[in-house]
Symmetry: C2
Subunit: 145 residues, 2 copies
Amino acid sequence: MDEYVDLLKTNDLKITHHRLAILKYLDDHRTHPTAEEIYQHLKKTNPGLSRTTIYNNLETLSDSHIIQRLTICPTEHRYDFNIGMHHHFICKECGDIIDVDFQCPTVSSIKKHVADQGHRIEEVHGYFKGICKDCLEKKRREQSE
Amino acid sequence: MDEYVDLLKTNDLKITHHRLAILKYLDDHRTHPTAEEIYQHLKKTNPGLSRTTIYNNLETLSDSHIIQRLTICPTEHRYDFNIGMHHHFICKECGDIIDVDFQCPTVSSIKKHVADQGHRIEEVHGYFKGICKDCLEKKRREQSE
DNA sequence: TTATTAAATTGTAATGATTCCAATTTAATA
DNA sequence: TATTAAATTGGAATCATTACAATTTAATAA
């Protein structure tokens, strides 16, 4: 838990119960949850919790680059405790977002290309859209019935 | 204009005035417009046009892969006439989306890696977030005042 | 420990993109 | 020209997110 305290301190953010709880939840659930999922979970042990607090803090934590906001989902934002550069796969069927554990060696040269145009890069995102393994298998089972 | 007719015919979609107008607008405006921008423009020459028609057709055209929907913007969808694989740069300041003309040679091997996990890939997206050249210059000018 | 203050939290209301739906119109076909 | 499935329409509904003003609290200094 001290790890989260340090993260907040380093970024000059006040240590609040909610922030620690949000960080712990995201650290424990690497499924790229939505604000609503986080809210529903934390509300159980903290009935007075406001949805706005979740939104405020997810923004604050994202702005401080303690977590990262994924905007690859068409309907809602998703949040990731892992701020290291990594790609994602998003399933059009079930909406799951899966980490792609494959470093792209070309990124640095593309970044250089973009920077050479005069733009300042702050984030790099790569993702694939399609149908995940589980949903494909479910479909196959349904068809062979 | 026949080009657009062919696109629709090939995909077994009815040839309607609105669809042709949407395709022409997207072809002429490679700025990745929003549904609202397209609606506002086409309404000028077609007052009876409904916003829902724009939404319906953008979905239909995206589903048929005649155009592509970009979901990289946190607040709204953007649409691209260019369905060829290409990356984007999105400015956090002005919201502009700029094409990145740089083919990533690594894509095929990452795709293979993801496919080997059992997932089916249908779309590939890469984008950078940051501050564009124009906004950087504007900021510099403001600071030196 | 206590007082101070800027920041965090709260709940409600507002926003705004998108979708839903039922009625009407139209493009494609026979 | 008649038929019909698909497209269009407009208004209502949805739902994630934001705005806001009042209240509470974490951090700091006395």
